[in-house]
């Protein structure tokens, strides 16, 4: 059974365009309507026939939708929802794909005080951006975390869960505050650290930019992938999930200081113990199908 028949996607970047492609693949009879605030993105979406319809206004996009999914940066959620609020059918379910949930729940409920809002976060992505970067299998075997407000109608919540299951995702329900703390460590802090070290390496005087690039296969290049992620999206994430990110960062900094001290004082056993412990984490991630088991992420070596 299809959870929805007329899906509207607001925001046609990497995630929005992947949702469109995944819906077309997994629910081919569903009508897909798309809107993006950027006319250039709308033109591309039109040219590549991403959706059944691309509208010129957010109101026209939602007018007869039964499901509206916001795929815009978390800082833009409130304004994006307010822009179609007057045209939203009363029975339509509104969701999103934002990486922070407390701030988004608040913004969507403020913009749509009478709307049926069931926020969600598919934990998936790549470092690419834009409507041409999306692909239908992005959510396959990835987790999607649904964070419904307590008063959300149970049927609406179940329809959103079913929507993601049909796109190939595994679905979990979580409290928005807990979601934000879990993602602070599994996603937001890793991005912050990656952005930082790429910046640090770029600013060195004695090591040239050319040397950093040439010898990046020693480990540095791994960090550059997530440090190439969308700047607007990530600025918004750090501003929206400030408290949890700062808390996780504090813990990380303490642990880094302890390692710094172990290096300074030549405490090889402390280093060896940590380095042995961390190996097991990777094994679990691979065992649970959350990363490629091939060496080096399956990078080509030829």
């Amino acid at each position: 059974m299809l959870p929805f028949a007329r899906v509207t996607i607001i925001g046609l970047g990497l995630i929005g365009s992947s949702v469109a492609r995944a819906v077309r693949q997994h629910m081919p009879t569903v009508r897909i309507t798309g809107y993006d605030a950027d006319p250039e993105v709308r033109a591309i979406a039109d040219r590549i026939q991403l959706c059944d319809d691309i509208t010129d206004t957010p109101g026209a996009a939602v007018i007869d939708a039964d499901f509206v999914i916001l795929c815009v940066p978390v800082g833009a959620m409130g304004a994006a929802a307010a822009a179609f609020a007057d045209d939203l059918p009363a029975e339509a379910v509104v969701s999103d794909v934002g990486s922070c949930k407390e701030s988004v729940v608040e913004a969507l409920r403020a913009a749509l005080p009478n709307g049926i809002v069931v926020p969600a976060h598919p934990v998936a992505g790549t470092e690419k951006s834009g409507p041409e970067a999306g692909f239908a299998s992005l959510f396959h075997h990835r987790w999607c975390i649904v964070t419904p407000p307590e008063d959300a109608p149970a049927l609406a919540v179940e329809r959103v869960r079913e929507f993601w299951r049909q796109l190939g995702a595994m679905v979990e329900t979580m409290d928005p505050a807990h979601h934000d703390r879990v993602l602070a460590i599994t996603s937001h802090l890793p991005h912050l650290i990656a952005y930082t070290i790429v910046g640090t390496a770029s600013d060195l005087e004695e090591v040239t930019a050319s040397e950093v690039i040439k010898y990046s296969a020693g480990g540095f290049r791994d960090f550059t992938r997530i440090a190439a992620s969308d700047p607007t999206m990530w600025r918004d994430v750090f501003l929206a999930n400030k408290e949890a990110v700062l808390d996780m960062l504090q813990r990380f900094s303490e642990d880094l200081s302890a390692l710094q001290r172990a290096i300074r004082w030549g405490k090889g056993d402390e280093l060896f113990d940590l380095f042995t412990r961390t190996r097991a984490v990777r094994r679990s991630i691979i065992d649970q199908g959350q990363d490629d088991a091939r060496p080096d992420f399956g990078r080509s070596h030829d």
Copy 2:
């Protein structure tokens, strides 16, 4: 022209076994002799026919070699060289693949006061370890940094350079001290940070280990790959390249504090500016063939 005819590999882990396979592929007439201090590794190498000969002692391995390449952790280089010093032919060239060069130059010259020592570092690897993890194309289109002492015979240096070129690498010559500072930022600090954050995530109480694993596709999993690298090798690297690593770590920590402050005070423009700048670094790495151009490192999405 082949630079060497009889190559001996001391240490048959990921790098040593890759050298063996690469020599067999690119210089099929060269005789390859192998030795590893671990009898179990020797037995595996024998079973998979990694080399033409596997010897039971380091002395027997080098007795008629014209090139000896040490592929052991940097902290073990001195002892490994001392173990074959008495049997080393006077005209043989000795090299290594260690990730730090100042300490290795010192250790090898102390162990082989009359030897012809031309240290080198192929900047390549994966997170896997052991004789079965190696593969012949590991060094293709990767840089190998040769760090000859000032008094090294020019012909010996050129033969080592040619050896790596024939294995598919691009070769650069560098002063050992500069090498150690370049690698501190492009390899050692990235590993240290990856080990740290995987440790931090494992130690949280409010976020379970199971949640860290499940939602690792949000970015965390990228760090777990290099945090699964060989613990002995990396303990030795941090102890051997202490000063450069601590200096780069200090710069990183300062930059991280600046970002922490930008988040705390809601300075979105500062975040956005950095996140835009870091994107360009990834583009350069891909343009120069030092990473996979496919999204997500080419990970499988199905």
